[in-house]
């Protein structure tokens, strides 16, 4: 029975393919998309730790840019446990999603963990990457489909 379930899972996931980046476009303007993103992150069970205002820094130094932010988030237990157990993973923590304006619409971008898998082959970490990838895609899809 387990083998059959594994076959079904393989068939279901085979078509998904491996993506390095997840990028979606929201029809919403930046402020609305930002609110939706923060709400989607919380609904997925994560805590927002901070928002990096990339555009503010650029503008302060005289460069022109539309709104551009990076939203950092994570689960306190995961950050503590993974940060202590996998020190090489720390530069990739907490999780983050970049969000920036493009005209009247908004683009959202996150990285998958595909590029890290061959370097962190531990089963527990592989499962953690699976979970994060599923959660990030779910968050981005919520924002993409919101109106």
């Amino acid at each position: 029975m387990r083998m059959w379930l594994a076959c079904i899972l393989m068939l279901l996931t085979a078509s998904a393919g491996a993506q390095d980046l997840y990028m979606v476009r929201s029809d919403m303007a930046f402020p609305e998309a930002m609110i939706e993103l923060q709400s989607a992150i919380r609904e997925q069970g994560y805590v927002l730790s901070r928002v990096q205002r990339v555009d503010i820094g650029l503008t302060a130094f005289g460069f022109k840019t539309d709104r551009y932010r990076v939203v950092f988030f994570g689960k306190p237990g995961e950050i503590e446990q993974l940060g202590a157990s996998y020190r090489d993973l720390v530069p990739y923590l907490p999780l983050k999603i970049a969000i920036f304006s493009e005209g009247d619409e908004t683009l959202l971008l996150a990285s998958s963990f595909q590029h890290l898998r061959s370097f962190y082959s531990q089963k527990a970490l592989s499962e953690q990457f699976d979970k994060w990838e599923a959660d990030i895609q779910s968050i981005l899809e919520k924002v993409r489909l919101s109106e």
Binding site: G17, M23, V54, T65, R87
Partner: protein
């Protein structure tokens, strides 16, 4: 046992049938387009990080084979990824959606090569095309049309020496593009420049001789740069800040890894992050590719472990290939050098 086998066979048959149905009747083309293409090419094909697809002159000359091959091969090193996992029916559905933006029928080109004088084509290319498409056909800088940032050109000139482009485009389509031009972009019809149909053939012959651009192979590198320090935690932190500022970066934030996740005052100070930025470099990087902000600003983490103190940061060279943008590779190589210098200076 027989009953169990019959159950297993019927389950397998159901799964295969479901899979076949899924391939024959994919979700609507527009839904697929919105899911896979709209983030870069815009909801209506108007462009963004990717090129505009809804231009009448583009759709008048782009064959279905060109669109199909482009989806399959992408543009290595030029942002557009390949979509090998999409089913044939899904690719067809996306193509039909793109076709829907124009009344022009899909053109078809015979497979015969266009014959021309490549040497003469090379001269014409240098005279009329290289200013936008580059001396070697390497294309313009930046991405697509990218509305989020100021830019010099209204649209990035495509890389004509890109292996994905060369695999996708037919001689017939190249010639049709040259003769028609592309309104809404700086690409004129070559007849407006005083050139003839024979000149178009000569240009096609040269375009087919352009040396094809290579593919980056740095994806095997470690995802982090890590160095152990022989100094104490506080000394290493002090060294790190001095090394950062010596390279004209501004330190914009310092925090522990768990800041925002634990009660204020209870943070673990043995994992400490220094964020820094050169806004000029940041502006340059975002001009090359607005997606790169995902890995900015720069940061180095100083950690106290059982073995001592160490500094660790991302490896920009490892990450550059995620963006499939050759131009970004150079910026990431530069950042890799800077990170390495900073870590060395802080730890040695």
């Amino acid at each position: 046992m027989k009953r169990r086998l019959r159950y297993m066979y019927s389950t397998l048959a159901f799964m295969l049938a479901a899979s076949a149905c899924a391939q024959g009747a994919p979700p609507g083309g527009n839904a697929l387009y919105q899911q896979h293409c709209a983030a870069c090419h815009g909801s209506d094909g108007g462009g963004g990080v990717g090129m505009p697809l809804n231009l009448p002159d583009f759709l008048a000359v782009a064959s279905n084979d060109y669109l199909r091959n482009t989806l399959r091969h992408g543009r290595p090193g030029r942002v557009m990824p390949a979509f090998p996992a999409l089913a044939e029916a899904q690719v067809d559905a996306i193509i039909q959606t793109v076709r829907g933006w124009s009344d022009a029928p899909a053109p078809e080109y015979h497979g015969k090569p266009v014959k021309g004088d490549a040497a003469h084509g090379k001269q014409l290319f240098a005279q009329h095309c290289a200013a936008c498409h580059g001396e070697h056909g390497q294309g313009g800088t930046g991405t697509g049309v990218t509305f989020s940032r100021p830019r010099e050109a209204p649209i990035m000139a495509p890389a004509l020496n890109n292996p994905g482009f060369q695999q996708s485009v037919s001689d017939g389509m190249l010639k049709a593009t040259l003769l028609r031009g592309r309104r809404g972009t700086p690409m004129p019809a070559i007849t407006a420049l005083g050139l003839t149909e024979d000149d178009a053939s000569d240009l096609v012959a040269w375009l087919r001789e352009l040396p094809v651009d290579g593919v980056s192979t740095k994806s095997h590198e470690s995802p982090v740069i890590r160095m152990e320090s022989s100094y104490s935690f506080d000394e290493t932190l002090d060294n790190l800040k001095k090394a950062v500022e010596a390279r004209n970066f501004n330190i914009i934030r310092e925090q522990t890894l768990d800041t925002g996740f634990v009660e204020e005052g209870k943070e673990d100070k043995r994992q400490y992050i220094v964020y820094f930025c050169s806004f000029s470099l940041l502006n340059d990087a975002l001009s090359i590719d607005p997606r790169v902000g995902l890995f900015l600003p720069c940061r180095v983490t100083i950690q106290e472990t059982d073995n001592g103190v160490e500094l660790v940061t991302i490896n920009p060279e490892k990450l550059s290939h995620l963006f499939n943008n050759r131009e970004l590779d150079k910026a990431c190589e530069r950042m890799h050098r800077l990170y390495t210098e900073i870590l060395e200076e802080a730890t040695l």
